[in-house]
């Protein structure tokens, strides 16, 4: 019978690695060099072999014998030393040293969102929480005493706006005032992301908090279209929720964009079946009135803008059902992320 010497050699080399004690080494020796061992069997097969095969089998058997002997000799020293070594480390015990702490899930989510846009070429800018009515409302085409303000109930501060006599400073109710600030100071092209805290006088429950976080995005240039708004946000959603995400753009109303849309994603990929479509963000093409308010020449620029709630994105992505968990800071919550 023909022997596959290559395969046998490989097997022997692997097997010798598991040898750790003198008993195991002896068993290894007997298995290959003993009277009933493999090398014997190979030599014995010489009798039935044809003339040509004989030479090959003879050489193979000798090589095999030599290899096993060498391996045994090399291993013997190590086995002897190992026997003397009394204490063995129980590697299954835990490692020592300081375990890592956890960045807050909201920080992680905000970083994830901003990083996706930064990699596409956006710049992250932070703007203040304490704002003026102009930045938070008027500049964004939300007039005083208009029902479109109803969606933006706002905390006012016990402090006068130095730029508008008799009007109070306020806590921004969305990150969109960042758009106005940035456009007032800079000319296009602009590609900015504004993350931050916002405030609305809402009664606290599982889905409302009077303080939460948003990420705002703004892209302004001479040519920007609604198709690009769709492309940009589709790419974002794929990177954030995964490539299988299914989205839809639904017409909506925001005073500072025209057209305006809300983006929903299919709940299926998140394993939520309660409602088919989940709203995740608002967006649109910058309303020409906003360009006018910041002093851009009429008709020169187009822009797209979008805004999303960080808590909402994190709740959807990680299956969190109560917004209060974010601010309660129970370590058993914090240490899960």
């Amino acid at each position: 019978m023909p022997w596959n010497f290559q395969e046998i050699e490989a097997r022997i080399k692997t097997e010798v690695q598991t040898v750790g004690t003198p008993q195991e080494l002896e068993a290894f020796r007997l298995k290959y060099l003993g009277k009933k061992g493999l090398v014997h069997a190979v030599f014995a097969s010489l009798g039935q072999a044809a003339g040509q095969e004989k030479a090959a089998i003879g050489k193979g058997a000798n090589d095999l014998k030599k290899l096993v002997e060498e391996l045994i000799e090399a291993k013997a020293g190590w086995v002897k030393a190992a026997e003397k070594f009394e204490e063995r480390a129980d590697i299954s015990l835990p490692g020592a040293g300081q375990a890592l702490g956890h960045t807050h899930l909201l920080t992680q989510t905000m970083q994830e969102i901003t990083l996706i846009f930064e990699r596409m070429g956006f710049i992250t800018v932070e703007t203040p929480e304490i704002e003026t009515e102009f930045h938070n409302f008027t500049g964004l085409n939300i007039p005083v005493d208009h029902p479109s303000r109803d969606a933006f109930d706002t905390f006012y501060l016990d402090a006068e706006d130095p730029s508008a006599k008799g009007r109070r400073l306020l806590l921004r109710s969305h990150t969109s005032p960042g758009q106005v600030r940035i456009m007032k100071e800079h000319k296009p092209p602009l590609a900015v992301i504004v993350p931050g805290r916002v405030y609305r006088p809402d009664a606290v429950d599982a889905s409302h908090s009077f303080m939460f976080h948003q990420v705002e995005g703004l892209l302004v240039d001479e040519k920007v279209s609604f198709c690009e708004l769709k492309g940009l946000l589709q790419e974002f959603c794929r990177r954030f929720f995964g490539p299988k995400v299914v989205m839809r753009f639904r017409p909506h109303f925001f005073p500072f964009t025209e057209p305006s849309a809300e983006v929903d994603i299919d709940a299926g990929i998140l394993g939520i079946e309660r409602k088919k479509w989940l709203e995740i963000l608002g967006c649109g093409m910058v309303n020409p009135r906003v360009f006018e308010a910041v002093g851009y020449s009429k008709g020169k620029y187009k822009g797209l803008a979008f805004g999303m709630g960080v808590e909402r994105m994190a709740m959807l992505k990680y299956g969190i059902n109560d917004i209060r968990l974010f601010y309660e800071n129970d370590v058993r919550f914090l240490r899960q992320f």
Partner: protein, 674 residues
């Protein structure tokens, strides 16, 4: 806004299943939030955005559905009823507040229940049924969107209507039975003596329709949106009428609404017309002619749309549209005040194409024309990295606090910024400091059995109208346990200082500490943190009395807070390489006993002064006490490292320098060498 599909089908049959209709409406921007079966009727619960008051009626939605589906809308036929003009019936004091008013008098009406079908329609829309006269006004309101009101004419003092501002001190009991105080900011509908309705919001009990009413006065009017909205806010009162007025009602609806209601009232109550007054001031919304470039559609949406198609859709939506030389001239209908510029018209086109049919395309993002100093953000990331590596967890707390928590924390000098309109005391103040937020989180965790807490927060603090980024660091409970060590130890002030040193290391900031008394902290365990001689923060062990106030027992808490902008301005990341000396260093250990009051820093300072150029570093080794040290003293061990970058130091010059240093310590600090 609810929409009964049975009612809708009186005017248009969309030939779509309920689900399909809901989907089409939603994708046209009229979001259907829920669908409810009501007997044989289906009712859609809709969210109508504030820019679309024209959709707050069955006919308004019918018009939209007609445009979406291409099916015809059949408006109800209104029979005209002629009557005499009553000149003195109505007077309007200020036409800016009310630019149109039609009062129609009907005599000999019989008040009873409304017809069954009308009642079913109203109930499906969530409207309470009352009697035929009132129900008809509500029916026409829901059908056309025009708010209406009916008065018992015989209860109107002087038999006339005056639209005027309320006088100071006047009040009215509204139909909901509540007495409401009025003032000149509020517009009322009055008779010769007193207000009988708050204009556009709710009628008064005095002139309401009752079973005994014989003569009815019907009001169909247009009240200015701002004045209605402000009155709603002042009074905390809203109604189906005010909801529409504050969103702006179609001016042309005043006439249609009056005509439809009169027709139905005559049919239903059996009365006859007794006269009419119409006041139409010149104030009329002139609808703008909007120029829309066909090329503008491509620019804004990113795709070409055939001009004929654009025009077709606009016409279906009730717009007038004409194309000439690539320019579309568009006149929106009187109920579409939201459409006033090119972009608004193009949005209508996009809605009709369907947002989902527009292709997605990745934008080319040019480098933005803006430079931002990234350091303030980077420094936060660096600090997070350093502190999480030290095993600390980041927390995020609410920036608003109850002012009482400051008092609880012995903080009295920092006012914070008051919120003018808080919903509760827990939101009354923008916090001036971070410590109360941390104590709140600690108390919550400890109550739940979590006692070993290592927290930090990068959050804002607020004062004098400004906000400022701060870092808080918080330690309590057991030091992270190394299972190989025999003892389990509690954290102390040096764990806190170690955490701060990590912050200063990663930001490249050199900081000093200065003992000081801070009311929130224990005397003897509190310090200012200073950078370049400027105080940038505080650290210490939280005072026991403060902890008692927070119900935190049996555990010490260590806390530090500092301003990030100060760290930023002091941090210097630019480092230059210093060649590693090829010459050997000589290390001499020193063991001293000094008075307990002597800070180690002083020892190190003297060493540096005396050690000369060859003293490269002073390294603290340990502090100890015990029998061998005389009372009132402490033992200090440190090592001095001598080295030159240009030559091998001689034994005798090191000894000389070292002796000079040790003698100075004995002389200046009364230190005894051990």
């Amino acid at each position: 806004m609810k929409l009964s599909l049975n009612w809708l089908k009186d005017y248009i049959d969309p030939k779509l299943s309920t689900d399909e209709l809901a989907e089409r409406l939603t994708m046209a921007g009229l979001e259907v939030e829920a669908v409810e079966a009501r007997g044989r009727d289906m009712v859609l619960e809709m969210e109508i955005t504030p820019n679309r008051p024209d959709c707050l009626s069955v006919l308004g939605l019918g018009r939209e559905i007609s445009a979406i589906t291409g099916r015809a809308l059949k408006c109800p036929k209104i029979r005209e009823h002629k009557t005499v003009t009553l000149k003195d019936l109505v007077r309007i004091e200020n036409k800016k507040d009310c630019c149109r008013y039609i009062a129609t008098l009907m005599r000999g009406a019989r008040i009873k229940d409304a017809p069954t079908e009308m009642k079913a329609r109203l109930e499906a829309m969530g409207i309470n049924v009352i009697n035929n006269a009132v129900d008809i006004t509500n029916f026409v309101l829901m059908e056309t969107g025009q708010p209406l009101h009916v008065f018992d004419y015989d209860k109107l003092s002087g038999g006339k209507i005056i639209v005027r501002r309320a006088r100071a001190g006047e009040s009215i009991i509204t139909l909901d039975g509540v007495e409401r105080k009025l003032d000149p900011e509020i517009l009322v509908v009055a008779d010769a003596e007193k207000p009988v309705a708050i204009a556009g919001i709710m009628g008064g009990q005095d002139a309401q329709i009752t079973a005994q009413t014989k003569n009815i006065l019907l009001e169909s009017a247009h009240f200015e949106m701002g004045i209605v909205r402000r009155a709603c806010r002042r009074l905390g009162l809203r109604s189906e009428s005010s909801y529409r007025f504050e969103r702006n009602v179609d001016l042309d609806g005043v006439l249609t609404g009056a005509g439809r209601a009169v027709d139905l009232l005559l049919q239903t109550t059996g009365g006859h017309l007794g006269g009419r007054a119409e006041i139409f001031s010149k104030t009329r919304i002139s609808r703008p002619k909007i120029k829309v470039r066909i090329s503008g559609v491509k620019e804004l949406l990113g795709i070409e749309v055939a001009p004929a198609k654009v025009k077709g859709w606009l016409v279906q939506l009730g717009f007038k549209a004409a194309i000439k030389a690539g320019i579309l001239t568009v006149v929106p209908p009187s109920n579409r005040a939201d459409v006033a510029q090119e972009a608004d018209v193009i949005e209508e086109v996009a809605r009709m194409v369907g947002f989902d049919r527009l292709p997605a395309q990745i934008p080319v993002i040019k480098s933005a024309n803006i430079t931002v100093d990234a350091r303030p953000r980077e420094i936060k990331t660096d600090i997070r990295r350093a502190l999480t590596a030290a095993g600390m967890d980041e927390i995020i707390t609410l920036s608003m606090i109850n002012a009482a928590t400051l008092v609880k924390t012995n903080i009295t000098q920092m006012p914070g910024i008051k919120i003018f309109n808080p919903l509760s005391q827990d939101q009354e103040l923008m916090r001036p400091v971070l410590l109360p937020s941390f104590l709140q989180v600690a108390a919550t965790n400890m109550n739940r059995g979590q006692k070993n807490l290592r927290f930090f927060e990068i959050g804002k603090t607020y004062f004098q109208g400004k906000e400022r980024d701060a870092l808080g660091v918080f330690l309590t409970g057991r030091r992270t346990h190394d299972w190989r060590a025999s003892e389990k130890e509690q954290v102390d002030i040096f764990d806190l200082k170690g955490a701060l040193e990590r912050v200063f290391q990663i930001t490249g900031t050199g900081a000093g500490y200065e003992d000081v008394a801070i009311p929130a902290f224990d005397p003897g365990c509190a310090a200012y943190i200073a950078v370049n001689g400027k105080q940038i923060g505080i650290m210490g062990r939280v005072n026991r009395s403060v902890l008692n106030n927070w119900d935190i027992k049996h555990q010490d808490i260590y806390f530090a807070a500092l301003f990030l902008d100060e760290i930023l301005s002091a941090s210097h990341k630019a480092v230059r390489y210093e060649p590693i000396s090829e010459f050997p260093a000589i290390v001499r250990d020193v063991s001293l006993a000094v008075d307990k009051s002597v800070p180690y820093k002083k020892i190190e300072d003297i060493c540096r002064q005396q050690g000369g150029e060859i003293l490269k570093s002073v390294q603290f080794i340990e502090q100890y006490s015990g029998d061998k040290i005389q009372p009132g003293c402490k033992g200090i061990v440190f090592s001095c490292r001598y080295q030159s970058s240009s030559r091998t130091l001689r034994e005798d010059e090191v000894t000389q320098a070292h002796e000079r240093l040790v003698q100075a310590l004995s002389r200046d600090l009364n230190a005894v060498r051990r």
